[in-house]
Amino acid sequence: MAWIAERRRRSRFETVVLPHLDAGYALARWLTRNDADAADVVQEACLRAFRYFDSYREGDPKSWLLRIVRRTCYDWLERNRPSELVPLETEADLEGVVHAAPAAVTDAGALLESRSDLRRLDRLIEELPTPLREAIVLRELHELDYRQIAEVTGVPIGTVMSRLHRARAALRQAWNGKGCR
């Protein structure tokens, strides 16, 4: 009976995928930078995920959902804020950056000194270009490893590494240049 199979499919989806709804929402929130847009995107992404649920085999359901959420975010940004999807300069240029000596050591201890500083760091993350922002968010906040980030964002692991490096370098530099100390 079709309805029994469909009900089983739905309840499996609710058990396997929906527990990662918070993770999906957080990613969408970081990518859209707005509560209402994040909610729209996540709802659309969940419906897509449900439609494609037959294509989910085994594996990590969190990465699987995040990949769909990310894809949906990009589609949404393409329609609504195409200017945010300006591609990074050629990723190949990043090779040099990864192996270059890091910038001068920052006084990072100072980072933790005040709450208003922390709020500022949070804004700095929001200001990163989308590909760098998603890399740092997936690594530091979703705690995915390189392989999972590569899977979610659809780029090679080397690119993940260089994006993380760029994101961290940019954040450290911005902190350095904040002029408070």
Partner: protein, 252 residues
Amino acid sequence: MQCEEVRPRFEAYLDGELARAEQAQLREHVEDCPDCGPEMASLEQLRAAIRQSAPDYRAPEALRSQIRFAIRREAAANTAAASRPLAWLAYAASLLLAVAVGSGGTFLMLGDRQQDSLTAEVMDSHLRSLLATHLTDVASSDQHTVKPWFAGRSDVSPPAVDLAAQGFPLIGGRLDLIAGKPAPALVYKRREHVISIFVLPAARGDIGSTLSRQGYNLRHWDEGDLAFWAVTDAGAAELAEFERVFRSATSS
């Protein structure tokens, strides 16, 4: 170990991505090195600061229940679709055009039994993509982007060609499920109309002419070992024209 060897691996170390032996070697160096020690500490502090500063975003309760509701509704629609092939179409149409429906029950065209269920699935799929404004998974007019995107995602490699010069610009590709299997769809535009063309392994004969349902037109033909199903809200003549152009561009 020299500082220059160690530095490029700091982040991989911090991210726990190094092999155990390498991890130990690096730790040893960092503990002893007056330059690398503070550098590593600074990276660790950045991480701590990021984790501490980032808001803990959680899906609002209202969103959670909306999503559950939307999924249940979708599941119910799927069940209906399984028992009556065109029910989904009717359901979708009723959402969009509830007023228009009032003018005549024939609009719904519930379950035309003669129709192949594949026809219904292809139409459903096209309509769903319009409703969900999910036209493409890969948006590009470049055949060298669209075609490789499908590699590894589906058994069939669709012949993506841009037909902009003939009035049908390629806007991208999408992976749908047809008969429970991933099926590539190429998406073209004809002025303001969208044409989805599904590419499946050939199994059945041509339907020969254009089928019409609720203003949607569908054509099906086989070429080699592939079957093509084109659906659109553009006119029948335009769809026939599309078939001609597409076939002559792909059968070289």
